[in-house]
């Protein structure tokens, strides 16, 4: 298929894998930030094409995985109300809150609908003026423009029975949280191509400088990822720490300016809690003051919910690249996609679910290769 097959070509992949092997002289740990990349790496076995010195660890970029438990409980509480039509992207429905999930709410008679765009939820609100229509606005910067557009349009049209339950998170603060942790083992990043399509990559430049870490904006197909790894390893070996753009067919340095303008109007940056990681300052979006009337958590008075995580789940360590899914004792036994202990096992893009689906036949790997604790000073 055009525009796809060329990025899954075996010969090109081998060429990049060989190039990576040629430039690699010592162990490096690289984190792919986005769940879509994790999924592609595990599905295509991309890590198995790399030399043993290169260790890929999986990052926090799965929106389903990092949505806090209490927000899921809020969603469940709102969706169960008889006056509500609750709209969501499909993969949020199976994520368990502390008691139950949205599928269960649906089977108990709740009006829970899968939509493909938040703007469709506005249409449902227009067509059902006697119902409250709530859209579950989760995601990174990638989904923010469409969610902002939905709220903006509802305000323009004076649709008052529409609101969104916001759990928007931002990539750069999460990367900084990982880099500033004492336990950090990440030496280079593959940044999320689609997030950068919206936001550009200027905001990654200070991170690369401050933490002396290479950041390569990377796409999602096998050869994209291999090329991203190659660029990252080359920087590490040469002692450079720059932002490079592998995904130039989609990403420009300044990003999509009209989308950023819309996001800036509807949302404001606030601290957010990340499931498994905790609260990170200035790491998410909330509705800006002039759009606060569209905040479902306030409208339905569920914004004070708090919830406790299952202590057995190590998804927080997985999301920070400190553990691999199959290093968890519950993996594949107590914790499976049908009985997830944590969200990384639920979402198709969650690292645990990807390992379960594609490689649970493998024995757990040996402990990680000895690691270099600081980046080298120069070439």
């Amino acid at each position: 298929m055009k525009y796809l097959d060329e990025y899954r070509d075996a010969a090109t992949a081998r060429t990049y894998a060989n190039a990576i092997r040629r430039v690699t002289t010592r162990p490096w740990t690289i984190m792919e930030v986005c769940g879509g990349q994790t999924h592609a790496i595990v599905r295509f076995g991309i890590d198995t094409l790399l030399p043993p010195e290169i260790s890929l660890v999986h990052g926090p970029g799965c929106p389903v995985c990092v949505t806090p438990l209490e927000v899921l409980d809020q969603a469940v509480a709102i969706a169960a109300r008889p006056d509500v039509i609750f709209c969501s992207f499909g993969d949020m429905l199976r994520v368990p809150g502390s008691q139950t999930d949205l599928f269960q709410v649906k089977s108990n008679g709740g009006d829970v609908r899968i939509v493909y765009s938040p703007v469709d939820a506005v249409k449902i609100a227009r067509e059902n003026p006697k119902k409250e229509v709530v859209f579950f606005a989760v995601g990174f910067e990638t989904t923010a423009p469409a969610n902002a557009m939905a709220v903006h349009r509802a305000k323009e049209e004076g649709i008052t029975n529409f609101s969104i339950l916001v759990s928007h998170v931002l990539v750069p603060p999460a990367m900084e949280a990982i880099l500033s942790s004492h336990h950090n083992r990440v030496q280079g990043f593959l940044a999320a191509g689609h997030v950068c399509t919206v936001m550009g990559y200027r905001e990654y430049e200070p991170l690369a400088r401050r933490y002396h870490v290479p950041i390569v904006v990377t796409g999602f197909e096998p050869t994209d990822i291999l090329q991203g790894v190659y660029l990252c390893v080359r920087q590490l070996e040469e002692g450079r720490a720059e932002v490079e753009n592998q995904y130039a067919r989609s990403v420009r340095r300044e990003g999509n300016l009209p989308a950023q303008e819309l996001i800036g109007r509807v949302f404001t940056v606030i601290p957010r809690k990340w499931r498994g990681i905790g609260e990170i300052p200035a790491s998410g979006f909330g509705l800006a003051p002039e759009y606060e009337a569209f905040d479902a958590a306030r409208r339905f008075r569920v914004d004070t919910y708090r919830a406790e995580e299952n202590p057995e789940c190590v998804s927080g360590l997985v999301l920070q690249g400190l553990k691999r899914p199959n290093e968890c004792t519950a993996f594949g036994t107590k914790c499976t996609p049908l009985h997830p202990l944590g969200a990384t096992m639920v979402s198709a893009e969650g690292a645990c679910a990807a390992y379960y689906r594609y490689r649970r036949h493998e024995v757990p790997p040996a402990p990680p290769a000895p690691r270099v604790t600081s980046a080298p000073e120069g070439p």
Binding site: R8, G36, G45, I46, P63, Q104, S107, I114, A348, Y358
Partner: protein, 346 residues
């Protein structure tokens, strides 16, 4: 048998206190429901193989018997409708038993308010599909439910066919070394229905592959060709068919991803929706397990679209895995989808 069931547990333990949509998805949840609720209740040797239908001896031969219910929404979609599905679904389940389908029953559950024009359109489709498959609808039933208690029209069909081959076709006959054949490209039915239901428009209209499989199965079985197992790809797609047979036969398999035909428009739609073509529904495709020596003959008989997609491996670890060699030469396993396939966030 009844006592044993009663002793075991008054309400068999399941993972969910209520039925979920995923229980009908043809994946792991469907399998669990069958194993936890239906199998313990009805346990018998004809049901146990969990094949597409039951095959049993009668004086002078063997009969195959099967049933299927059709609740697809929307009722009409590119390449077919509820009527074509209702006939072909049951006809194909009989064909997968190696049977020549003969007679069908049809039960109609009509929702108050259904347009007679729509009902007539569906019934006409059933008539032409039955003629194409060489079966007759010989008995039926009609019920009407209140408005709001059905999606317009549900149809159940049951069917009997005569098994004229001496072969025991089913997962238990699968052997290490068998070739796995696929009768044509996959994923069109599921995408056609989803596109119509969700109002998605693609550059090229994707039409369902819905078709009777009687003729290709008859061609395959000619002159005593040794067929070990047949399975049509319905809900859960190629993935469910391969994993279920692998688990029933307790044999691992190796599949070559590149050899599985998927049309560009289906791959494109799957990319956009975040779906795996291997797990998307079909209504006119099947896989066949034959000895490697017969693979080429079988492939020729199934026509130009058929391909050998892999092979059955020697017994190894339990549970057995279906391994897929990707386009990059790496390996992953196939896993039953948990519940319904869900479109991704981004």
């Amino acid at each position: 048998m009844i006592d044993e069931f009663a002793l075991r547990c008054p309400i068999p333990l399941t993972d969910h206190p209520t039925v979920q949509m995923g229980h009908g998805g043809g994946g792991r949840m469907t399998r669990d429901l069958i194993e936890q609720i239906f199998l313990p209740a009805f346990s018998n040797d004809l049901l146990a193989p969990l094949h597409d239908g039951a095959v049993f001896p009668i004086a002078g031969g063997r009969l195959a018997f099967t049933t299927d219910s059709f609740v697809v929404k929307p009722m009409f979609f590119p390449g077919g409708d509820l009527g074509t599905l209702a006939i072909n679904g049951t006809v194909n389940d009989l064909a997968m038993c190696g049977a020549r389908p003969l007679y069908l029953s049809a039960g109609f559950i009509l929702e108050e308010g259904l347009a007679i024009e729509d009902l007539w359109r569906v019934v006409r489709s059933m008539r032409s599909s039955a003629a194409e498959a060489g079966v007759r609808v010989v008995t039926g039933d009609t019920k009407v439910v209140d408005k709001g208690r059905g999606d317009g029209l549900y149809i159940n069909t049951s069917g009997v066919g005569v098994v004229e081959t001496p072969l025991a076709i089913g997962p238990a006959s699968v052997r290490p070394g068998d070739a796995v054949l696929l009768s044509g490209d996959i994923g069109r039915h599921g995408i056609a229905v989803m596109a119509r239901r969700e109002g998605l428009e693609f550059e090229t209209e994707i039409t369902s592959d819905c078709a009777p499989l009687t003729e290709p199965v008859r061609a395959l079985l000619q002159n005593g060709l040794e067929v070990h197992c047949l399975r049509d790809l319905t809900r859960g797609g190629l993935t469910s068919a391969l994993v279920e047979i692998s688990e029933s036969a307790r044999l691992p398999m190796q599949i070559e991803e590149e050899s599985v035909p998927v049309r560009d428009e289906v791959r494109g739609a799957c990319e956009i929706l975040g779906l795996e073509p291997f797990s998307v529904a079909n209504e006119g495709r099947f896989i066949a397990f034959v000895p490697a020596a017969e693979a080429e003959t079988a492939r020729r008989r199934l026509g130009p679209e058929a391909t050998v997609i892999g092979s059955v491996e020697p017994r190894g670890a339990d549970p057995p895995y279906v391994r897929v060699r990707t386009s990059l030469g790496t390996t992953r396993i196939l896993d039953l989808p948990s519940g319904e396939q869900l479109p991704r966030i981004c």
